[in-house]
C-alpha cells in the first residue's frame, strides 16, 4: 500500500473503512513525513437514492423517507420538508405546533452537539471527555423519547403541524433536564478553554479564514467560527423563531478550537431558547388538516440544522406525489473547505479536522456521473429504446420483439 515515490512521499488511505470514520468516505492523504501535502476526498459510498425514491411516493410517505435522511438531525430535515409543502398548500400551522417544533429542534441541537463533542474528543484521544459527553447526551435522548416517543427518528412533524402534544409534566421534565445539563456544558466550556492538552491539539488546527469561509461557502458552526454571523434562525426565521430570541454565536479563532467553542456556546443558547419556549408556549391545536394533493408550484425551504444551513427544494405538479425533491444537507456545503483545511497540517490533525465540520456522509452522498468524453446528446424515447435494445443485444439478449410503448409508463 505504501507507495514511496522519489520525493519520499507516502500516500496514506484514510477510509473508506477506518476507525476514525463513522461512515464510509475516502481520504487519500499524501504525506511528507508527518506533513500533509495533498488530500483527495472521495464521498459517495453511502448513496441511497432518497431523492429519487421520493418521486414515486406520496407526500405523507415521503415524510418517512425525509425523516431518515440523517440519523442525527432528522427533525431539521422533516421540518424543512413540511414547511415547504405547507407553503405550497397555503397552510398556516398553529402557534403551539410551531413552538413544539422549536423545542424539538433545540433538543436535537443539544444532542447533536454533545455527540459531536464526544466524537471530537475521541479523535484526539481524550476518551474520558467522550464518555462524559455521551453520558450527558443520554439525558437529552431520554427527554426526546418522552416528548416524541422515539430516541432517534422523532416522527413528530407532520404536514400541517405536529403529531404529538406536550403536557405540563413533560415541560417540567425538560426544564429539569436543561438545568442539570447547563452546569455540565459550562464545565465543558471551561475545560475547552483551560485544559492544556486540549488547547494545544485544537488551537490553530484546520484554519479556514473569514475570506476562505466565504469563498468555499461553508455554513453553520464552521462559518460562525470564522466570524460569519450566518444563522437561518435569525436571518430567515421559521417555525416560532420569529418570536423566540436567538443570539447567533460567533468566534474569531477560525480553527477547530473556535468551532468547539461555538458549538459549546450554542448549546447554552439552545437551553435558553428551550426555557423561553416552555414559558411562552401558547395553548391551542397542534395541527391543521393538510390536503393529499398539493397544488403545482415550487418552493425552497431553509432551516438551521445543528451542522448549518439545510435547504430543501420541492416541486409539485398538482398530484399527490412530488415532481422533484432536492435535499442539500449542510455537510454538502462544508465539504468544499475540508481539502483546504487539511493541506499543510499534520497527519495527527487529519481526523479532528475532518470531524470538526461534523460531517454527515450519507446525507451528502449523491450519485454523480462523471463523463470523461465531451459528447452530450438529448435522447427521445425511441432512440433511448433503440439504445437499450442494442445494449442488450451485445449482452446476447434480444428484446426487439417485445412490444413496449411509452404510454404504458406514463
Amino acid at each position: 500500500m505504501s507507495r514511496k515515490g522519489k520525493d519520499n512521499r507516502i500516500v496514506l488511505p484514510i477510509g473508506p473503512q477506518h476507525p476514525s470514520l463513522k461512515e464510509p468516505a475516502s481520504f487519500r492523504i499524501t504525506l511528507e513525513g508527518e506533513k500533509v501535502v495533498n488530500a483527495v476526498i472521495g464521498v459517495g459510498y453511502n448513496h441511497r437514492g432518497l431523492e429519487k425514491a421520493c418521486e414515486s411516493r406520496n407526500y405523507v410517505q415521503d415524510l418517512y423517507l425525509i425523516e431518515r435522511v440523517c440519523g442525527i438531525c432528522s427533525h431539521t430535515h422533516s421540518t424543512a420538508y413540511c414547511q415547504g409543502i405547507e407553503e405550497l398548500a397555503g397552510l398556516t400551522i398553529p402557534r403551539r405546533a410551531a413552538y413544539i417544533r422549536v423545542i424539538v429542534a433545540e433538543l436535537e441541537r443539544l444532542h447533536s452537539h454533545l455527540l459531536w463533542l464526544g466524537v471530537a474528543a475521541h479523535e484526539i484521544g481524550f476518551d474520558t471527555l467522550f464518555m462524559y459527553t455521551w453520558r450527558d447526551r443520554e439525558k437529552v435522548l431520554d427527554i426526546l423519547a418522552e416528548v416524541c416517543g422515539n430516541r432517534v427518528n422523532y416522527g413528530i412533524n407532520t404536514i400541517g403541524g405536529v403529531r404529538r402534544d406536550v403536557d405540563e409534566s413533560m415541560l417540567q421534565d425538560i426544564s429539569k433536564m436543561a438545568d442539570a445539563l447547563e452546569d455540565q456544558i459550562k464545565y465543558y466550556l471551561d475545560l475547552a478553554m483551560t485544559e492544556t492538552t486540549l488547547s494545544v491539539r485544537l488551537a490553530g488546527v484546520g484554519k479556514l479564514s473569514y475570506d476562505d469561509a466565504l469563498r468555499f461557502g461553508v455554513v453553520g458552526p464552521v462559518a460562525r467560527s470564522a466570524g460569519i454571523a450566518d444563522d437561518i434562525r435569525v436571518t430567515e426565521p421559521y417555525a416560532a423563531y420569529d418570536e423566540v430570541p436567538v443570539r447567533p454565536v460567533t468566534d474569531t479563532r477560525a480553527d477547530v478550537l473556535g468551532r468547539t467553542v461555538v458549538r459549546i456556546k450554542e448549546m447554552l443558547e439552545s437551553i435558553n431558547i428551550i426555557r423561553f419556549c416552555i414559558r411562552n408556549i401558547p395553548d391551542g391545536d397542534i395541527a391543521v388538516k393538510a390536503p393529499l394533493r398539493i397544488p403545482a408550484g415550487e418552493v425552497i425551504s431553509r432551516t438551521e440544522a445543528p451542522r448549518g444551513e439545510n435547504i430543501h427544494y420541492i416541486r409539485s405538479n398538482g398530484t399527490d406525489k412530488p415532481d422533484r425533491v432536492r435535499v442539500r444537507a449542510p455537510s454538502e456545503a462544508n465539504w468544499r473547505g475540508v481539502k483546504h483545511m487539511l493541506e499543510g497540517g499534520y497527519l495527527a490533525d487529519v481526523p479532528i479536522t475532518i470531524a470538526a465540520i461534523d460531517p454527515c456522509y450519507s446525507c451528502t452522498d449523491r450519485a454523480i456521473i462523471v463523463d470523461s468524453g465531451s459528447r452530450t446528446e438529448v435522447m427521445d424515447w425511441q432512440s433511448l429504446r433503440q439504445y437499450s435494445i442494442d445494449w442488450y443485444k451485445k449482452q446476447g439478449v434480444d428484446t426487439a420483439s417485445a412490444k413496449v410503448s411509452a404510454k404504458e409508463y406514463f
Binding site: L12, H122, G125, D127, M131, Y132
Partner: protein
Amino acid sequence: MLVSLLKILIFPGFLFLAVYAMVCEYIDRKVYARLQNRMGPPWYQPLADFLKLLGKETIIPADANRRMFQILPVISLSAVAASFIYVPVVGGSAVYSFEGDLIVVLYFLTIPTICSFLGGWYSRGVYSTIGSVRTLTQMFAYEVPLFMALLAPSLIAKTWSVTGMASFYSEHPLYVLINIPAFFTALIAGQGKLERAPFDSPEAETEIVSGALVEYSGRLLAIFRMSMDCELVLVASLISAIFLPFMTGIVILDFVLYLAKTLAVLLILTLMRSAMARLRVDQMVNFCWRYLTPAAVIQIILDLIIRGGLAV
C-alpha cells in the same frame, strides 16, 4: 540450583510477572473505566483476551519478512522477563543482582520498543510504517530524561545496582525527598515509554489504526500484548524500587508493601492517561526536550552537589 530455577521461573520470576501483569492490566482498565463513568471489564477480562488471541488465526502479511515478524514478539517478551529478575520484589533484594544491573535493566527496557519498531517496519504496511517511525521518534524523546532520572539517585547511593539503591534508600529514607523531581520525571517519561495517553501517538487509533502492531494478529499479538503488560509492571516496579524504597524487614509485609507501591505508581499512570488528550508526536518531542530533560539535568546537578557535601 532447583531453588534458583523455581525463583526465576515461578516466584518472583516469570509466572508471577505474567499473573501480576494481568492483574495490573485489569486494575488499569477498571480504574480507567470508573474514572470515565463506565462499568469496566470483569476481573478475568485480561486472561480471557489473552486466551482468545492465542486461539485465533495468525495472519502474516505476504510482503512481511516472515522470520522477523514471528520472532520479534518473543524477543520482546523475553527481554522484559529477563530484566524483571534484577528488580527487587520480595524482601528488598532481587533474584539476582550485581554492580551495574540498573544499566542492564534499562538496556532490556529498550528492547520491547525496538521490537515494536522492527515489527511495524517489517510488516511493510503503510499504517505500521508510520506507527513504527513514530515509536522510534518518541523513543529518542523520552529515553534521555527517563535514563537520567533513574540514574540520578544512584549518584547518592553510590551504586549502580537496583537492589543496592533500594537498600541504601531504605536505610536513609530522608534522601528520597531529594529525588522527588526525578520521581515525577520518571513517571512522565515512563508514560511515554509505555506509549500511553497523552503519549500514545505511536498507536493512535483514530489516525493510524493501531500503529506499529496493526498487522499483528493471533498468537503473535497475544505475546506482544503480554510483553507490554509486563513492561508496565517492570516500569512500576523499577520506579517504586528506586523512588519509594520503604521496607520493614519482614518478608511477607515487604511483599505486600511492594504490591501497594507498584499499584500506587500504576494509579498515577492511569490517572494521567484518563485526564489528557493525545499529544502530537512533535509536541511530545518538544515537551520532553524542553521540560523533562532539563528537569532530569537539574536533578543530576542537585545529586552531585549533595554527594559532594556528603563526601566532605
